[in-house]
Symmetry: none
Subunit: 176 residues, 4 copies
DNA sequence: TATGAATGAGACTTCATTCAT
DNA sequence: CATGAATGAAGTCTCATTCAT
């Protein structure tokens, strides 16, 4: 990846996250990246190709994040790490765009991206099972949904939404 | 609202919900509505104006839905009704577009629309307080977030996502 | 066909004939026609659609020209009229663009457009047969090819190429 | 001419012949030739320069082909050789692109290239004169036009156009 | 010699919006 | 009220060409 290529990806990531994929023009991306518009297409063929490259990057990053959790054996630890990873990640402001895009893009592409969280879901379900929960899979899905919902608020509700308290409450509910 | 006006709104609602606001052209709306493109602008001045009209309609409808809950005095009933209203509404296929748009538009406009749920949030918080929960407001927000997250999955995860089971589990957690 | 539509077609015809289809930009057409570029696409969907409309027009016109010949019963008349129609047509300067395009477009689209001359070919073959020529179909094809070749020179050879003399010679060869 | 230069010319020849000059991008040529795009411009300055080089090559080749005919003294032989050369050349499939381009390029550049056939034309006219034809120059031009027309069909009419029969008929007409 | 990143102009096309009818 | 022709700006993408390496 050349230097300019990186600039393109960064600019696109920021703009897609802020304004949305459709609402971001390639000329805006080029201007923001300080690059000629044509270069985008030399490297990515398509505006969509650019998006896909960014999404792919995201997927790799997510897998990396979850790898640690999936290998964990203590069930309580699995749940705790899941919640913590999620909360930690959202707090790094320099990665905010990246994560916001992951949520936003779901609604623009209408692809939920189940497979991305599949390993995590399985690990969570197993953990809940070991802890004796009645419906471990549903339980796991519910937890992930709750965190999805919290993220939505976190990213869209401008006025100080303090996610920390919700995280704490959530942990208490799972006796962590 | 004339007959044609209604056709416009319905077509726009469906298309905005399915394809997104930005991705829906006024010409597509006109074609879908069986109306000339110019007519849209006679009635709504703007594409944005059309969206606002639809959002306004939505707000009215949501207020109506919640009015009943807000007046409820039994705290457990408040929580139960909140969950049930949400689950009932998502199940009516003829209203699916309407609700989907509510979720989708948040991400396109980056406006969470806090005020829409404010009364419901207050009622829930009061209910949790009366039931002796330690952090009633956080508790209320967490519940709403969970339902937001469930809706996201419901609307975006194509392969049979059975929301019913999650609803049941959720109720159990609140001892309903 | 509205007034502006006609202007578009005329400008396109002229430019396609002069510069070629590929080498003519829609913006040039719009400018030449005194019309906004967008209008071209409202009426023709595509640059290609515009070309097709023009070609279709041509086909209709050609059919009309040939209709007369095909109905002729005297075999010598059939051949004479074929040659004369061809020579007359090429001489009208206001139609030059139209005919030039017919020839030029063959090479850009790589479609010979056999079907266009099929009825004429049949009529010629029948005429040659009645006149006792040994290979009437080949004879007919050869005549048409000769006229194709003459047209090529006529349209491309800038310095005075006097087609009249060739026509006369051709007629003599068929004893007309 | 280096090896890569040859690859460029060959690729360009094929693409220009198949798709046309305007419709062939330098990037397509580079890809087809297995060469970097920049190299084309190191060797030819221009896309147009590349075309001219190819055309020049063609001219040399044509002169070579005709040299033999021009030196012939027997008038009937001149005519026969002209027709045969033309028919032989079109039958070699590995040279098809080369010849097709000669025809095609006329229409894209609107240059008939009279000078290329001038010596041949003169030789033919002389032959017809010696054979006592009334209008030897017109006669010569007519013959060349016929062959032009046949070539057009040969190159553009996909469904089996058997040029052999036309050649035979043509010869008969000149009592060869 | 050869590459391939980079560019700027311009290609085709879509879009929201206006306006005469 | 309603149409649909018309527009100008902007959108995505392609292209010939340049240049540092």
């Amino acid at each position: 990846m050349t230097e300019k290529q990186e600039k393109i990806v960064n600019a696109a990531l920021e703009l897609f996250a802020r304004e949305g994929y459709k609402a971001t023009s390639t000329s805006k991306i080029a201007k923001e990246a300080g690059v000629s518009e044509g270069l985008i297409f030399r490297h990515y063929e398509n505006k969509e190709g650019l998006l896909e490259a960014i999404i792919q990057q995201g997927e790799d990053r997510i897998k990396l994040l979850f790898a640690d959790i999936v290998l964990e054996t203590d069930p309580k630890e699995v749940i705790r790490k899941t919640i913590d990873t999620f909360s930690k990640v959202n707090k790094k402001p320099e990665e905010a765009d990246f994560w916001k895009l992951q949520y936003k893009i779901k609604w623009e592409t209408e692809v939920y991206g189940e497979h991305k969280v599949e390993p995590l879901l399985k690990a969570l379900a197993k953990a809940f099972e070991e802890l004796g929960y009645a419906q471990p899979l549903i339980e796991a899905q519910l937890l992930l949904s709750t965190m999805d919902g919290l993220a939505t608020r976190f990213y869209l509700q401008k006025t100080g939404f303090d996610i920390e308290q919700h995280i704490e409450l959530l942990k208490k509910k799972y006796e962590l």
